[in-house]
Symmetry: C2
Subunit: 231 residues, 2 copies
DNA sequence: GTAGAAAGAATGATCGATTTTTATGGTCGG
DNA sequence: CCGACCATAAAAATCGATCATTCTTTCTAC
């Protein structure tokens, strides 16, 4: 049976999730904002049913909070919150990474190399583009590739639940990075982190790569927290 | 539609969650079963909108899986799955417990003592009731009290996200306990586990209580896994 | 002038019907 | 007898309208 392109349109509720998540992560929908269905309907063109479905699922990811009979709100942000996210990422990601390194095969390695290469290329492109004053994270393409690189590192972990939890935390953290980046023209300039991480993982050095990963997570969070504190 | 009770009625979608979760945990809705909306509508009396909302939220808890355009299914069970649940519980629960022990105040201690007392009383009642051949977990009241006791131990942990993750895992594990219990007339007879756990926690002994908790988790899982393997 | 009640508007929650998509069963040509 | 193909039935997805609750504003009484 041949696969025809037209058939596989995702359900509207899925599309709504993508739109909403994207706008929440980018801050277009500000933290704390009430998400009124009428507004969303007008803005996105989805009807209320798929929107409610999307909002319910995003609530599970911690990007939306539900207050019974009062509606949906973009999850608020706080220093405590990003600290919590960081702590859990530091607990879960090394666990997943250790698994992944133990189980990964050639295809897994290849995927990592590929993802890293694409990420690096995009960084080069951005640097040359005169947009060099803009932090990478603000570029949607970079954000996708960055997410994909980190995912590839853990892809051989055989615990779907662990990966899922880790993914929701990653999304939650991304929102803070955006927030920081929007107020900071200077790029983070910690480019070689990903290189070292990739190398340590490919060398199957669990201890070193876990440390690098934990440091990577800490560093990013510290930058964000410093910014939030001075607000 | 007459709603007699005052204004504090939960939304139908919330009620639907409770009904569905209860029936999934108890096995009334068997693992793997497709949850057709028409059937659910007839059986529970909710309309499709609240049902879909409930199913979406239960999917976030891992009790339901969604297949796009094909519907909702009760999450399947497997040995790998319970092992995964167990592994994550062993990772998260000690982390939360350590927090809780560090932060807990008198009210927290009192809550633990109270929850433990109520659990023990219910166990006594069940033992005397001639239903002594039935594992405790099959008694809905016991299951609630048991859940509450474990929750109380961790209640002083200051990471809501951690507690939430831990809670979803606990629910997922409960389903396996039920499954085992339905095929085993003999009670588990590991009664003093909870006593020791309570004492260690109240003594603020993080190491010992973490060990006890991890053992408690392992023991239960091993029983379940042994049962599943012989199937 | 202010508190409290009540009307009105806004919005979430729910429903029943309609539209799309998937599953099923039967027929035909090989 | 097997597999591709169509027709039909089943079910999910979606929609637009209605119902119920919460929020806002207005009005009245003190």
């Amino acid at each position: 049976m041949l696969e025809i392109a037209g058939d596989k349109a995702a359900p509207l509720s899925e599309q709504a999730i993508l739109c909403l998540r994207s706008d929440i992560l980018s801050g277009t929908l500000a933290p704390g904002l009430q998400l009124k269905l009428d507004r969303l309907k007008d803005h996105y063109g989805f009807s209320s049913s798929p929107l409610r479905e999307a909002l319910n699922r995003l609530a599970a990811d911690g990007l939306v909070v539900i207050e019974d009979r009062r509606g949906f709100f973009v999850a608020p942000i706080s220093i405590d919150d990003i600290r919590e996210i960081t702590r859990l990422r530091q607990l879960l990601e090394p666990e997943a990474l250790s698994d992944s390194i133990s189980n990964g095969d050639d295809a897994w390695e290849a995927q990592i190399i590929s993802a890293h290469y694409r990420l690096e290329r995009q960084e080069q492109r951005l640097k040359n583009n005169g947009a060099s004053e803009k932090p990478f994270i603000l570029d949607a393409e970079w954000a996708d590739l960055h997410r994909e690189f980190h995912r590839s590192l853990l892809a051989a972990c055989n615990s779907p639940k662990l990966l899922h939890m880790r993914e929701t935390l990653f999304y939650q953290a991304e929102r803070y990075w955006h927030l920081w980046a929007m107020n900071h023209p200077a790029p983070p300039s910690r480019g070689s982190n990903h290189d070292r991480l990739r190398d340590a993982v490919l060398e199957r050095d669990i201890v070193r790569s876990s440390d690098l990963l934990k440091n990577h997570i800490s560093q990013t969070t510290e930058i964000v927290v410093k910014y939030l504190e001075q607000e």
